[in-house]
Amino acid sequence: MSAATAAAPHPSTHTEVLSPQERYEIDRSLRAPVLLFFGTSIFWLLIGSILGTLAAFKMSYPGFLDSEAWLTFGRMRPAHLNVVVYGWASTAGIGVGIWLMARLCRVPLRSQNLVISAGIIWNVGILVGTLAILAGYSRSIEWLEFPGFATPILFFAYGLIGVWTIIMFRFRKPGHVYVSQWYLLAGFLWFPWLYATANILLIWQPMQGSGQAAVNWWFAHNVLGLWFTPIGLASAYYFIPKVIGRPIHSYYLSILGFWSLALFYSWNGMHHLIGGPFPAWMISAAVVASIMMFIPVFTVAINHHMTMRGNFEYLKWSPTLRFTVFGAMTYTLVSFQGSTMAIPALNSITHFTDYTIGHSHLGVYGFFSMMMFGAMYYIIPRLTGWEWPSASLIRWHFWLAAVGIILMVGTLTVGGVIQGLALRDVEVSFMTSVYLEAPFRYVRSLTGIILTAAHVVFAVHFTLMLLRSGEQKKSATLFAKSTREMATV
């Protein structure tokens, strides 16, 4: 073996190489289904933003919209969560997942109509579930509020989508399997297992006693960890090397990161219940697994950072890369924060406070949603054959989203610590914790308006894109003129 071949990167560190004809056929086959998932996800993002912002203001003005049952805080908050988790994040994630899978397997999607039908059924399920929560059919199981007559619709639709994703993988063109494909395959297999288990044991045939809460948080935490995270990381592993035109730094770090995530993340959920009515070992196992999450998180962070090294100037030009790198950096931060929150001494301060709300928004929004925005900025022009009409609208979207989420998480984090210290102090009355937290809650509600504005900008831009507004461009829409030749955007 010559020195040159020995130094060549591992073949699995490269994303796919396609002829223009193959690329055209794959993107054409994905056009209608993926745009359906993206379009409806953006619709739910707007609805979810409005529900969340209204619910947030209710904590400052309890008399605001309090005359009707369906407008009460205890219904709008779960409606917000479910719309965002299933309507926005999962729907966008499915779109990105299908597109990545087809590209990396180098096969077109063969059954567009089936996947389109599944997408419509999926959205009907979300609509039915959301209306049911507002109408008072919620069972108040966090992340599983959709009642038993809505979840089978979602499960059926997901089944059609998931099966086709796995079939695509089965009939992939020969060659190396890229790291993003491991994550996608795993995520698309884990989600139905999670959702079926939680539905059977909590909604359809509720099991007895506090074990419900164990299953509830095993589910809720794993929706983030084993459904959103695999899709988000698959996206980062794909778009970072794609945009900068380099292979992933290390194949072996990719392997370590993947398997340690699979092993440790699935045990994390019980750290939401520290001090709860469970055998001590269940909580201890979750605390240990949460600390062990340092391994996958830092492995992935090092791998991404080393890939980016020397190429950070691309962030000035590429919208996809800017959103993706923001998401990847937040992933490291939010995972580190999550591990520390599982340490019992710190958990005794942050548990039951807005600190946790800040953490979950940092995860679902700062990491996952930003990752999905980045992916959409790359994928949509390839589906529509039209470049984004306006660089400044993308810039507005990015800065409103980035500033909004940083301010939101910042206020909830500081406020949460103050609230937690007050709740813990024997000398301090409960009502004092409410007074101390009030200004932070108010600022948080304002940040909800900033994020909603970001989403309105994005939705308007997406609509302009579908209408093929503006002039036909010869090259991709960038933030600034590139002084370097870019591989792709």
Partner: protein
Amino acid sequence: MNRLPLLFIGILATFGSAWLGVVAYAYVNLGSLQPVISEETGGLLPPPLSGSAIAGQKVYAANGCLYCHSQQVRPASLSTDIAKGLGPRRTVARDYINERTVFLGTMRTGPDLTNIGVRQPSVEWHHQHLFEPGVVSEGSIMPSYRYLYKVREIQGQPSEEAIPVRGPHAPGPGYEVVPTQDAKDLVAYLISLKRNYPLPEVPEEQ
């Protein structure tokens, strides 16, 4: 990574380990706990719920009380819950075997309700509080649950069920506020929340 059977088995095995450890264990062990017989009264512990209280759980769920109120007391070794008067002892798995849906909760935007039936045993207080929280609990940010009550004109004798209410939404003279069945059930459930009985697995103050 091209050894695909290994990838496939690994994906299922890593996930399956936690599924067995958390889900199957909880289902088999926590799901089969039985009540114990009280040495003092000969009754069951935890005491069975009344029909109205069971119906009240549904109202509690439908209106999302859980998003602000927890129902769990953590042990003294981990927290100040007991010192702050949330209950005489930590809560354990057996405390929840009568609940159709377990409302442990993850937020304390409002106070913990594990023992609200001990702290506030008055039915009238609960109705007044649900109708207009700020009037009986100054500074409260809990929303009003007026929609669980009917305001109606007094016909002849005032109803025995009528709630004496104060505050901005109190009706004028000649009108009365009566609870709907949902409100009555919800209060029956709240009053039933008394996890202060002794259990063999947990001595007091722990």
